[in-house]
Amino acid sequence: MVFANKLSLACGLAAAVLAGGASAEGKISIAQQFGIGYLILDVVRDQQLIEKHGKEQGVDIEVDWNSISGATAMNEALLAGALDVVSAGVPPMLTVWDRTKGRQNVKAIASLGSMPNYLLSNKPDVKTLKDFTDKDRIAVPAAGVGFQSRTLQLETAKLYGDKEFKRFDNISVSIPHPDATSALIAGGSEISAHFSSPPFQYQALENPKVHKVLSSYDILGGPATFNVLYTTQKFHDDNPKTYKAFYDALVEAAQIVKADKVAAAKTYIRVEKSTLSEAFVEKIVKDPEIDFTVVPQRTFIYAERLHELGVLKNKAQSWKDYFFEEAHGGEGS
């Protein structure tokens, strides 16, 4: 694989030289995951905003959209050079930033919106985190390392002390959201809790047996970014125009979503070919807790706490350390 990379790089260089030193501008491959958290990208894709802003910059941009599930696959594709821009939760992005600092220098481009993630349970006697026993199993998409697990670790460290932050990892199980949601609603399996995400958590909560134990907003102290887009320093530096067109497209998409939430909900159903009802998606998009914005919110809590817990080796001075400078203008945190 490594050799193939070098080879493809060499071929790419040779091609560039042959083409008369044309720069690599004009191409971007983006990967998104599934769920309402990627609504901004759906709007960008639906309205071809990258192409539009590319024309304003004077470049024709060819956009390649991919769907990948899970931060690990995203990170590997990014580091192997198969994708230019990938998206995942804040903690996985911080992990790549930490490991690639001084090498590929992976940094975040923009937030994809702030939304709460709920810890749900179908056991009536589980009201707080302290009510979980060894017999319970908490379903999360990626045990130990995903957004949900890391958020749970922050809360665990708060309750039981920093040394105990992995306490609930022992009862965490890696299960994709759709399976975990149906297991929780059906009951009868070991799965008694699920650290969910929109839209799955709202589907689960429609069942009277399921109740909310905790929200990621409670843990982080208010509205906080869920997903971010990130890329390598190399892509950012080599493609200034494409990068700017992409960033502008994101900003415009966020404005479009805020201006007409009904249309945004329809876009989501159309692009993702979702089977959810329009009223249901509309309710989520209109939820006052959810804010579709490219401005990062409360991401620094992760950077700070995860460094203190020893998960991250590098200490960030501010959120600007792990965001590219285009994002620095807003009132991020």
Binding site: V2, R99, R137, G144, V145, D169, N170, S172
Partner: protein, 288 residues
Amino acid sequence: MSLSPPVRQEYEVTLEPFTQSELVRDISLPRRIWQQAWVRKGVILLALAVLWELAARWQNNDLLLPSFLQTANAFIEGVAPGELLSKVWISLTVLIKGYLIGIVLAFGLTTLAVSTQLGRDLLSTLTAMFNPLPAIALLPLSLLWFGLGENSLIFVLVHSVLWALALNTYAGFLGVSETQRMAGRNYGLRGLRFVWHILIPAALPSILAGLKIGWAFAWRTLIAAELVFGASSGKGGLGWYIFQNRNELYTDKVFAGLAAVILIGLLVENLLFNTFERLTIKRWGMQR
């Protein structure tokens, strides 16, 4: 007309006088060292390590390919606080449980097969059905039946050991010569005693081959199963260790986990199986 055959002249070859050459010869020290198997194997390993180190330095990106020294360091750092060892221990206990159950079942099935006609048909049908089925493909089913945890892992392990071992053992039993069988009958051995005293010792080379294959299959299945899901992350074994470190982008620890898998494979092969072979089939002159 008479044909006379050509007459060949007779002659005598005088042998050179016989001189006894020296029976004991001195081999130079380097050659004597080179004749030790472990030295040759060590040199191969060392060459591989040097190649690896050079490739990693040339690549100069320890996120994609950590160097040998970094991996060794990660391995020592993993072993010293006992984290890696405890993971190995978790994996091994599950593995041995599945392996032993698989062996018992395989011997039960083959004993049945050599003693009754129906048993023979049962074994041949079952092995034909299940041997090609990858054990890991049964994992989702096993999770449904046995829930998340050790039991579902043991189920897939038994599946991976059972058929390979049963097939080898049965083939070994069939290959036992009539002479040995008749010798056994002459002593009045029947049923289980016949299997234990005649068939098993006579078929030991193929049984051992089956045990080795079963062991390798079981290891592979276990690591793959743990990679797909760790029963629960706190109790996951070596596969889970590799998986989690991959998630956290600690490539050197991923390599350390892989090295642990390889080391255990080497230890079991060289210590366990080789010793057993030396004490049985090599001592009995059944295998070189």
